[in-house]
């Protein structure tokens, strides 16, 4: 017992101060891909998750990246596309609207204007968020719901409770029963075998409730997509309040998303290079 106390004192405080102090991911970290307008952007087939798409308009070829689908593998930023796309280090990507996660740029036409994210169409989402803030205050008790994840997102949610991230310091906790929860964090694309359980769990949570889709599979189907055994994303079966991209999102990206759901952050941070 004495040994344990001595060890605990010697270890000291290991908890991060995020979000009060910003977190800088390591150099190799693959965050949001940055598309350089007017450059030779890759064809959609390069992306194994189907996050890239293209269309032609009067201005020429436009390439769109869906961050909700992106698995951050970095393939589109490799030769021969290196330079046209680079893997940025921005990880605070959560958004209230699926449309906010689509980035569109004009390719092959240096004169074409860069079209970043479209104008924020989430007045309704903001209203819901402020309602949540009003009812639930600054604290949030969540139920985890694995809807068919590969367990990477689940382990990152577990990590939120470790001594480093310790989300309880932010008034966030995970509870055992949906009856005790203010909302749910869903991982996985919603498999056919879990669809019934997903509905039952969410319906057991008292309203108003928040639904947070964690990771590419939950946010869009990700690399699993839609299939005989997969619905292809949480919003195919129930309304989602916040989408957190990542494969998996790092723990601080999940904290950012949960705080966004709580209305404790105004909106997405401006994109950094």
């Amino acid at each position: 017992m004495l040994r344990i106390l001595i060890n605990a004192l010697r270890t000291g405080v290991v908890t991060t101060r995020y979000p009060a102090v910003p977190s800088v991911p390591p150099e190799r970290f693959r965050g949001a891909p940055v598309l350089r307008p007017g450059s030779h952007l890759p064809p959609p087939a390069v992306c194994p998750a189907g996050a890239l798409s293209e269309h032609l308009d009067t201005e020429g070829r436009r390439v769109e990246l869906d961050l909700a689908r992106c698995v951050f593998c970095g393939r589109c930023a490799e030769d021969p596309w290196a330079g046209a796309i680079t893997m940025g280090r921005d990880f605070e990507l959560a958004a209230r609207c699926r449309a906010d996660l689509r980035i569109e740029v004009a390719a092959d036409n240096p004169a074409g204007p860069a079209n970043g994210t479209p104008a924020d169409p989430d007045a309704e989402a903001a209203r819901v968020s402020s309602e949540i803030h009003r009812v639930l205050g600054r604290s949030l008790h969540l139920r985890h719901l694995d809807a068919g994840s590969c367990n990477a997102c689940d382990w990152e949610l577990s990590a939120l409770l470790n001594p480093i991230y310790d989300v309880r310091r932010l008034g966030i906790d995970f509870v055992a029963s949906p009856r005790h929860a203010d909302g749910v964090v869903v991982t996985g694309p919603v498999t056919r075998n879990l669809e019934t359980a997903v509905h039952r769990t969410v319906e057991a949570i008292p309203e108003p409730r928040v639904v947070i889709a964690v990771g590419a599979c939950a946010a869009s189907g990700g690399i699993v997509g839609e299939g005989y055994a997969s619905a292809g994303g949480v919003d195919r079966v129930l309304p989602v309040d916040v989408y957190i991209p990542g494969c998996p999102p790092r723990p601080e990206a999940i904290i950012f998303g949960i705080l966004l759901a709580l209305g404790r952050l105004d909106a997405r941070h401006p994109r950094t290079g």
């Binding site: 593998c73 590969c150 056919r192």
Partner: protein, 531 residues
């Protein structure tokens, strides 16, 4: 071969393959499968590695095929797979069941009944395994004629016919599929008298995503990204297993430096899992200092992973043909420091666990898996080695740096007790061995190229097979390309697939309150079982 011919009535055709050291035996009559399997198991001490069904109606053979793949069970045997291949007529898709003679075949046969409509005649369990909730009758998703890209609606279904014990004072306790903690989904049905578990039935495959079907028809280079995402905590192992199978098909040799980096990644994956698992086992004994310490050590390693690979689960390091990222001297220095800290932290944690009677008492004699049961079920990994089964794919099916000309030494840790304490001990020893191995590999790292290009398209109509020692144990990957070099069929037999039935057996030696300890001491993945 002569032994095989003597035991079976039909024709026996043998040829080398898929690898030159392997053997594929084509049996003329499906009825001969049981006798042929018995020859391999009894006379050649082999064990079931995996069973792969394929729909080859689109090929000139116009049939379904089942490949029963065996591997040596003994420590130190040559690296070899023996495939027994039978052809099945689509008009009468039936095979004799092996399950009563080879218990490890149980789930494989139920899975091929669900996904291919191949009926194992004489199988003791008629219930579906993979497909739940009113799945339409007569629809088999892994048949080539089935379009797997559309959702199949969920239909109302009756109560699943669980096998339960009956009698005075027998209680049934249903748990899951959604659990009270942050864990993966599965349904556990306990039959108990008082606290004693009479029987446990685990119903899994809730996270079945149809990933094997998803990969079919893709370019093997695209399908890699799916394989790497079958399971979070086995990302390196499954990515590597897929790559090695694909590299066999492509006939390329991975550069020496890439092999060493791959094995470093594999050992780092084992290390963060084992350290975290030891911490999580402490949760089952309400030893919170142990939980917090395990979490802290694991977090330190995952932050190191992110520095090395740009991803906390080491995704994006291993790629077909080699590795994507080099390890600079700066990073290797930081890694060495992280490993020194982990070693000291792990020794401290194990010291506190072993000196704490309230933890040791909970772990000792809890959830015993008998040696013979581990052999019968072809249990893999930590669970096997803690029950005295001396098997480790790093030695038995060399891969990564172990397949090189001067493989590093490997000490395979075995303990004979088969209880939760034995599984903790094996994990701690293996974690120390991983730290030592990474140190040795860093010293051996020679300058060199990182990647070779794979031919595009990849050669068609070929099979690749690999076995990787993941943190949970041996995973067997089987990949076949179609005539145009795309993925025709990929199958993963994860270690958890063979180990889940062992959890149910071990739980039957325990009491209900100890189940979390039993379960966490096995620490299996649902996602790589369910796929």
């Amino acid at each position: 071969m002569d032994e095989l011919r003597a035991c079976v009535a039909g024709s026996v055709d043998a040829a080398a393959g898929p690898r030159p050291s392997d053997l594929t035996v084509r049996l003329g009559r499906a009825e001969d499968i049981a006798a042929a399997a018995a020859v391999l198991i009894r006379l050649h001490s082999m064990t079931l590695a995996t069973i792969v069904a394929t729909d080859e109606t689109g090929t000139p053979d116009r049939d379904l095929k089942v490949r029963y793949i065996f591997e040596p069970a003994a420590a130190g045997a040559a690296d070899r797979f023996v495939t027994l291949l039978i052809s099945i007529d689509t008009a009468r898709p039936e095979v004799p069941s092996l399950t009563t003679a080879v218990p490890a075949a149980n789930w494989h046969e139920r899975e091929m009944r669900d996904l291919f409509g191949i009926i194992p005649i004489g199988h003791p369990d008629p219930r579906p395994l993979v497909l739940h909730d009113g799945w339409p009758r007569g629809v088999f998703p892994l048949r080539k004629a089935f379009d797997g890209s559309r959702r199949v609606p969920v239909e109302p279904a009756g109560e699943f016919p669980h096998l339960v014990a009956e009698g005075e004072g027998v209680f049934e306790i249903p748990v899951g599929p959604i659990h009270a903690g942050i864990i993966e989904p599965g349904h556990f049905r306990f039959s108990s008298v008082g606290e004693t578990v009479l029987r446990l039935e685990a119903r899994l495959f809730y996270t079945h995503r149809g990933l094997e079907k998803r990969m079919e028809g893709l370019s093997p280079l695209d399908a890699f990204y799916v394989a790497e995402r079958i399971c979070g905590v086995c990302s390196v192992a499954h990515g590597l297993g897929y790559c090695e199978a694909l590299e066999q098909i492509a006939g390329v040799d991975v550069p020496a430096r890439a092999r060493v980096i791959r094995t470093i990644a594999l050992e780092l994956e084992r290390l963060y899992n084992h350290v975290g698992d030891i911490g999580n086992i402490c949760a089952g004994a309400a030893f919170h200092y142990g939980v917090a310490t395990g979490q802290r050590l694991k977090e330190r390693l995952q932050q190191m992973n992110e520095r090395l690979a740009g991803n906390r689960f080491l995704r994006g390091l291993v790629v077909p043909g080699g590795v994507r990222l080099d390890l600079s001297d700066d990073l290797l220095g930081a890694l060495a420091a992280a490993l020194r800290e982990t070693r000291a932290g792990l020794d401290g944690l194990m010291g506190r666990i072993e000196a704490n009677p309230s933890v040791v008492d909970r772990l000792d004699d809890t959830g015993i898996l008998q040696h013979q049961a581990a052999l019968d079920l072809a249990v893999a990994g930590v669970a096997a080695r803690a029950s005295g089964v001396n098997r480790d794919a790093r030695r038995d099916h060399p891969h990564g740096a172990f397949a090189g000309p001067h493989p590093p030494d490997l000490r395979v840790v075995t303990v004979s007790d088969g209880d939760a304490m034995a599984r903790v001990t094996v994990r701690a020893q293996e974690a120390r061995e991983s730290i030592r191995l990474v140190g040795e590999l860093i010293r051996r790292l020679e300058p060199g190229t990182l990647q070779v290009a794979l031919p595009e398209p990849v050669p068609g109509g070929r099979i690749g097979i690999s076995a990787i020692e993941s943190p949970r144990g041996e995973a067997v990957h089987w990949l076949r390309t179609d005539a145009s070099g795309r993925v025709e069929r990929y199958h993963l037999r994860s270690p958890s697939y063979h180990n889940w039935p062992a959890v149910a057996l071990a739980a039957e030696t325990a009491i209900i309150p100890d189940f979390p300890l039993v379960n966490k001491s096995f620490e299996l993945c649902y996602s790589c079982t369910d796929r």
